[in-house]
């Protein structure tokens, strides 16, 4: 048999497609349906992450009803202080929407106590303390599973704290989809600064960076079984909107508003014909009493589905306890990523780009150690608020995907050749990152946005 006969035989053999291939589309659809709700991604406001890591002690007595609530429930005083940064959680405490837990365990000279939860259909806030005679500061890494041990998907956990021994800390578990289970197993791996008793720091020490917590092995591992009162986990209201509007030339539809005690979700859909992806939204709700519910101050602020670059669900502070009879949604702006700018070609050798996001300038491209050091600057949209200019994935000329490890943001300053001095630009910030092991002169970067839209007249949608 010669090679051509062999070739024809192989072609015949390959012509017999196995029956298992017949249902490949059906299987893909079923898989997508079952997994789509689990694979969401989350964005957090930098300020809220910071908020979790900074101990908050705010004068709760500024609010009369708040103080009254604390007076009725003296045990909630510490909790009221801990949630003072969050209007939604403060309202929950004020309305005694708190489930006491009171579980405590001691492992390896660290005591963890779960004091309270604030829970609804979609969000769980776990308040806990850590105490130790040998560690001044402890770092807890949480994970959760169902009560029967089954791993949970489709949630994010933010939190931790830098409180001294006994300070009240919080984890926030946010479910993108699916209802709150009846109970969970909380597992916490706790590391102490110093890592072992011999090198335990003095009480005067403070910890500001996670890497200061020594060792990879936790000092203690805790598990708590938490059961939620159905009174709390059933709370929530979904209002269907289905109102279309145009924003930045894009046709969007506000599909529904979900109102929970801990937050409000505004869900949107885009149109197939849209030329840009919605990345962020400027919005608020207002009730008939003039109460405004702004973008949420803690935890997740927006989510998107895994199969689209669009962010399609946005969070607001909760109106749940305001007993609002009427609610109106105001959309005043947006951040968009034009679809033709998902990748932009950047000529590194000549410091030029085919396109850049609005307000962004290409400051520097320096060949260094087999790669490039890049610097871009952007303008502040809010005072001193940095934002991401480019996603970390980038592509070479052959379309091969690479990633840079991280970027730094600093106040922008530029070298003035005439004066031979640095010039500070107070209205701008600079983002620097490295393309390591990148010998080429051209790179394709992926902007995080392309333009910012500010509406003269807000989009107004009646919610109820």
């Amino acid at each position: 048999m010669d090679r051509m006969e062999e070739y024809n035989m192989l072609l015949n053999e390959l012509g017999n497609t196995p029956r298992a291939v017949d249902d490949t589309v059906v299987r893909a659809k079923a898989r997508l349906k079952s997994r789509s709700r689990f694979y969401r991604f989350f964005t957090f406001p930098a300020s809220s992450l910071a908020a979790f890591f900074i101990a908050f002690v705010i004068a709760v007595n500024l609010s009369v009803p708040f103080a009254r609530a604390c007076g009725r429930l003296p045990l909630l005083q510490k909790l009221a202080e801990a949630v003072a940064f969050s209007p939604s959680l403060s309202a929950a405490v004020e309305n005694e929407y708190v489930q006491p837990v009171g579980l405590e365990k001691t492992v390896n000279k660290i005591t963890m106590r779960v004091e309270y939860v604030i829970v609804d259909q979609m969000q769980l806030n776990i308040f806990y303390t850590l105490n130790s005679p040998v560690y001044t500061n402890m770092d807890a890494a949480p994970s959760i599973s169902l009560a029967n041990g089954t791993p949970l998907n489709g949630y994010s956990i933010a939190g931790g704290c830098n409180a001294k021994n006994g300070g009240l800390c919080c984890f926030t578990v946010d479910f993108a989809d699916g209802n709150m289970p009846e109970g969970i197993i909380l597992t916490c791996k706790v590391r102490g600064k110093g890592g072992d008793y011999a090198s335990a720091p003095t009480m005067a020490d403070t910890v500001s960076k996670p890497e200061e917590y020594a060792g990879t092995e936790p000092a203690s591992v805790f598990t708590f079984s938490l059961a939620f009162d159905p009174y709390f986990t059933s709370k929530g209201e979904i209002i269907t909107l289905n109102k279309s509007f145009i924003l930045g030339g894009q046709r969007l539809k506000a599909t529904e508003v979900e109102i929970y005690p801990t937050h409000v979700r505004l869900n949107l859909e885009d149109d197939k014909g849209d030329t840009a992806w919605l990345k962020s939204l400027v919005y608020y709700l207002e009730d008939e009493k003039g109460n405004r519910f702004e973008r949420i101050s803690n935890g997740v602020i927006a989510t998107g589905s895994a199969d689209s670059p669009m962010m399609n669900s946005f969070r607001l502070e909760s109106s749940f306890f305001s007993k609002s009879k009427k609610l109106t949604l105001y959309i005043t702006g947006a951040v968009l990523l034009d679809k033709n700018m998902e990748r932009v070609k950047v000529d590194l050798a000549h410091k030029a780009a085919s396109a850049l996001p609005e307000g962004v300038t290409f400051d520097e491209a320096v060949r260094k150690g087999g790669g490039w050091d890049l610097a871009f600057s952007g303008i502040y949209h809010k005072k001193d608020e940095f934002y991401q200019l480019f996603y970390t994935d980038y592509y070479d000329g052959d379309g091969k995907k690479r990633s840079y490890e991280g970027f730094s943001s600093t106040t922008a300053r530029f070298w003035d050749k005439k004066t031979q001095k640095y010039v500070e630009k107070p209205d701008a910030f600079q983002v620097c990152f490295k393309l390591t092991d990148y010998p080429y002169d051209t790179v394709y970067l992926c902007p995080a946005f392309s333009r910012v839209v500010t509406l003269d007249q807000p989009v107004v949608i009646k919610v109820k």
Partner: protein, 154 residues
């Protein structure tokens, strides 16, 4: 493109996808798994497909990526000797299927797409993200190593 159109176009394409995966991976089960994974990933990423006319080459790229991923994984577990282009005589005693699998990756992928999946030169080049001239050079080299004399299309 909506899900129904995706399903219809994938139905027409699936036999080709299977042939490609089979030649890459050399096993029916693994080929079916790779096609399943590629179809799932294609469906999930459907909104990113800006030009439906490139659906076939887009799906093929996804499949090739899945096959390469599997090959990388297997390489770690049980390395397969890929023969260098210069070792033409070592290809002679190998059955054609095995010889194709032992081709250097860049030659193998062109040959699979062109002569086993029935892609045109332009489609093969598009699927692999290479210029047509490069595809021509690679396919000539591959055919020469495999001792296959297949008439070129116009």
């Amino acid at each position: 493109m909506d899900e129904n159109e995706f399903a219809a176009r994938t139905e027409r394409l699936k036999a080709r996808l299977y042939r490609i995966a089979f030649l890459y991976l050399g096993s029916e089960n693994m080929a079916v798994d790779a096609v399943d994974e590629a179809v799932y990933r294609g469906l999930k990423a459907l909104k990113k497909l800006r030009r439906p006319e490139y659906f076939d080459t887009w799906m093929t790229r996804i499949l090739i990526n899945e096959c390469k991923k599997e090959l990388r994984r297997r390489k770690r577990e049980q390395p397969l000797d890929v023969l260098p282009e210069t070792a033409a005589e070592e290809f002679d005693p190998l059955p054609l299927r095995e010889a194709v699998r032992r081709l250097p990756p860049q030659l193998r992928e062109v040959v699979i797409l062109r002569y086993f999946a029935g892609y045109t030169l332009a489609q093969a080049a598009e699927s692999l993200g290479i210029p047509q001239g490069t595809a021509v050079t690679r396919q000539r080299r591959a055919l020469s190593i495999l001792k296959l004399e297949i008439c070129e299309e116009a």
